[in-house]
């Protein structure tokens, strides 16, 4: 059957005046876009294979390359966009579900960008973080309602297990399998160095990384891959993954081709078998069922580790969170609809779930209203892109943020959004040893440390400007936020005033 021809999305423009035929582009492109023709003494491009990952552009020593959007477009149509039509062609040719990676790229509202942060002027002094102490440390876990004392007036210390973070950011779940060994090594080393945590995702924990256990959150997902006693005991906390922002309501599918060697061993499934995570946990159909798993895990870890329940931000998230807060979980992680993924059906990624900003505000409000906010800490993720997003999230009520896309960007990801092919030219979302080695964890971990160090400085500056000297004092302090260009409904959900009010 003849496929419908689809014009390549990108055009490779090679400046022949600059090209020195070093062939670095050819050697570095796992998609085999570039090839050298000895007869012509020219490098030629097969643009149908280009994903615009910018590897060649980055490494070209004479900067002779650029990748541009192919301007050969279908006739303009506000309803039938070029990409919509091409997706039709693809499906007409393949009969398959469209797959995509990373977060929702569509122009849906980004509430962070419509929220502005306060600063002190005249009536209250700002704080200069370079001169005065500023606390970015946070503790995650169930907090006692009030101070308790015994008969003799001594403090009763029965605080449930807590996670201590040097700053309110953690690296969120990315499984070994969906990302490479070296990506995991980078995350683990950086988290340890930074005094924060990273998350194994649902693929188990490679034995080489048990040494970073104090800075590791081990995840238990519906496929239960790689879950065993030592694994649960290795981490500082256990996370039950109920859902993921990029693909709420569906499970996961890591193709058998990626289940090789250590990945297969770590996941405890045979080489070459597809790793299918079911959409639900088959033992969880209610909050009561969830509670059973929470306490099973607490039993397994002797009540020494906080249990996190991670859910995708969906319509009735406030009620769901309320249930989780009563399930015995210590921390709720909520993943917004712009969260990334190694592979998800495009329609789900782009149309299911709600923005994290609204979910966070409504969950925080609901838990406060119900008087159970101290039952749990709130961690939010799903496209936290900067220190200001972190500050806004904290002010909206989060205890900490999860970042993953920002972290992989620091590792070199260029957001080409083709993780599902397994041919990541940056050595991140791949298991091909030739590609995996492109990410040297010495560099990767340093970049992550640099990024977090920079954010920490910025968080301090932003807090100082508001006259606030600790994350604790900023938490849920929505007075520090104002909306711009938001309607009354949005402002009311966010629990903030409009700018000027």
């Amino acid at each position: 059957m003849q496929n419908i021809y689809i014009n390549p999305e990108f055009e490779v423009i090679r400046n022949e005046n600059r090209c020195i035929k070093c062939r670095v582009c050819e050697r570095q492109c796992a998609n085999e876009v570039h090839s050298y023709d000895a007869d012509l003494n020219l490098l030629i491009s097969d643009e149908t294979k280009c994903v615009n990952c910018q590897r060649c552009v980055s490494l070209c020593p004479t900067k002779a390359l650029k990748i541009v959007k192919n301007d050969c477009r279908l006739r303009e149509n506000a309803n039938w966009s070029d990409s919509t039509i091409k997706e039709i062609y693809k499906q007409a040719s393949s009969g398959g579900v469209l797959l995509s990676s990373m977060g929702n790229p569509n122009p849906l509202p980004v509430y962070w960008d419509k929220i502005l942060i306060n600063a002190s002027q005249v009536t209250n002094p700002p704080i200069d973080p370079l001169r005065e102490p500023m606390e970015t440390k946070v503790f995650l876990g169930k907090k006692p309602e009030k101070v308790q004392r015994d008969k003799n007036g001594n403090l009763i210390c029965n605080t449930p297990p807590q996670l201590e973070l040097s700053m309110p950011v953690m690296f969120s779940a990315m499984s070994y399998g969906s990302i490479s060994y070296n990506a995991h090594a980078s995350l683990a080393r950086a988290a340890t160095e930074l005094g924060i945590l990273y998350n194994t995702g649902e693929g188990g924990l490679h034995e080489d990384f048990y040494c970073y256990g104090k800075n590791t959150i081990v995840q238990v997902a519906s496929g239960r891959f790689g879950v065993h006693k030592d694994y649960l005991e290795a981490g500082a906390a256990v996370e039950i993954k109920m859902g993921q922002g990029a693909k709420p309501g569906i499970g996961g599918h890591l193709p058998g081709a990626k289940i090789v060697g250590d990945v297969s061993r770590t996941r405890m499934i045979p080489e070459g078998s597809d790793a299918i995570s079911p959409a639900p946990h088959h033992d969880i159909y209610s909050i009561e069922d969830l509670r059973q798993l929470v306490f099973s895990l607490k039993e397994a870890t002797e009540y020494q580790k906080p249990i996190i329940v991670k859910v995708a931000a969906v319509h009735n998230i406030a009620a769901i969170a309320s249930g989780i807060a009563r399930s015995g979980a210590d921390i709720i992680a909520i993943d917004g609809f712009r969260g990334g993924t190694g592979a998800a059906p495009t329609r789900i990624r782009d149309n299911v779930g709600i923005p994290i900003e609204l979910a966070l505000a409504s969950v925080d409000s609901r838990l406060r209203e119900e008087g159970i906010r101290n039952n749990v800490s709130l961690v939010v993720g799903g496209s936290i892109r900067s220190a200001s997003d972190v500050v806004k999230a904290i002010a909206l009520g989060a205890d900490a943020c999860y970042i993953a896309t920002a972290a992989v960007l620091a590792l070199g990801c260029h957001l080409c959004r083709t993780c599902q092919t397994g041919k990541c030219n940056w050595g991140i979302a791949t298991q091909n040893p030739e590609l995996v080695k492109r990410l040297n964890p010495d560099i990767g971990s340093q970049h992550l440390i640099n990024l977090m160090t920079a954010w920490k400085h910025e968080i301090k500056e932003l807090m100082g400007g508001m006259g606030i000297n600790s994350i604790e004092a900023l938490k849920g302090n929505r007075l520090m936020l104002r909306g711009v260009g938001l309607n009354d409904r949005e402002l009311s959900i966010l629990g903030i005033s409009h700018a000027g009010e």
Partner: protein, 142 residues
């Protein structure tokens, strides 16, 4: 003494080191002008076998057989760096005959050339190291 070391675990075989080397030693300030449309004569070479790649350049041996063997007195040790006086070298290739690393090679004009850690050119420190995208080549004391 600081030397150039390679860690084959991280070498991607991209060959950028060879081009950066040839450029650094060209004496020309523009890479395109220096390298376009001509064969390059780098002082570092990528070896490839069985999907393993690594860069090889002069090890700056403490007891260098190339210096001992040089029939023209062109090779010498200066502060631990094995240097070549291109003016004295007559291209007999005895150094190629004896170097156990295969790190000496014939240059453009028949005389031999070898890594001098970019101490003799305008870079000041090894260009292969600075340009390696994956820290596979390291300049350090061991």
């Amino acid at each position: 003494m600081k030397k150039v070391y390679v860690d084959e675990k991280w070498c991607l075989g991209c060959h950028l080191c060879e081009y950066n080397c040839a450029f650094a030693n060209s004496g020309i300030s523009n890479m395109v002008k220096a390298l376009k449309n001509k064969p390059i004569y780098p002082r570092v070479h990528i070896e490839e076998s069985d999907k393993i790649t690594y860069a090889v350049s002069c090890r700056h041996c403490e007891d260098p057989i190339c210096v001992k063997s040089c029939i023209s007195g062109a090779l010498s040790i200066k502060d631990g760096v094995i240097c070549i006086d291109h003016d004295k070298c007559i291209g007999c290739l005895t150094c190629i005959l004896v170097c156990p690393y295969g790190a000496v090679a014939q240059g453009e004009n028949g005389v031999v050339q070898k890594c001098e850690l970019c101490l003799e050119n305008s870079c000041g420190s090894p260009a292969c190291v600075a340009g390696c995208p994956n820290n596979a080549i390291i300049y350090e004391e061991r």
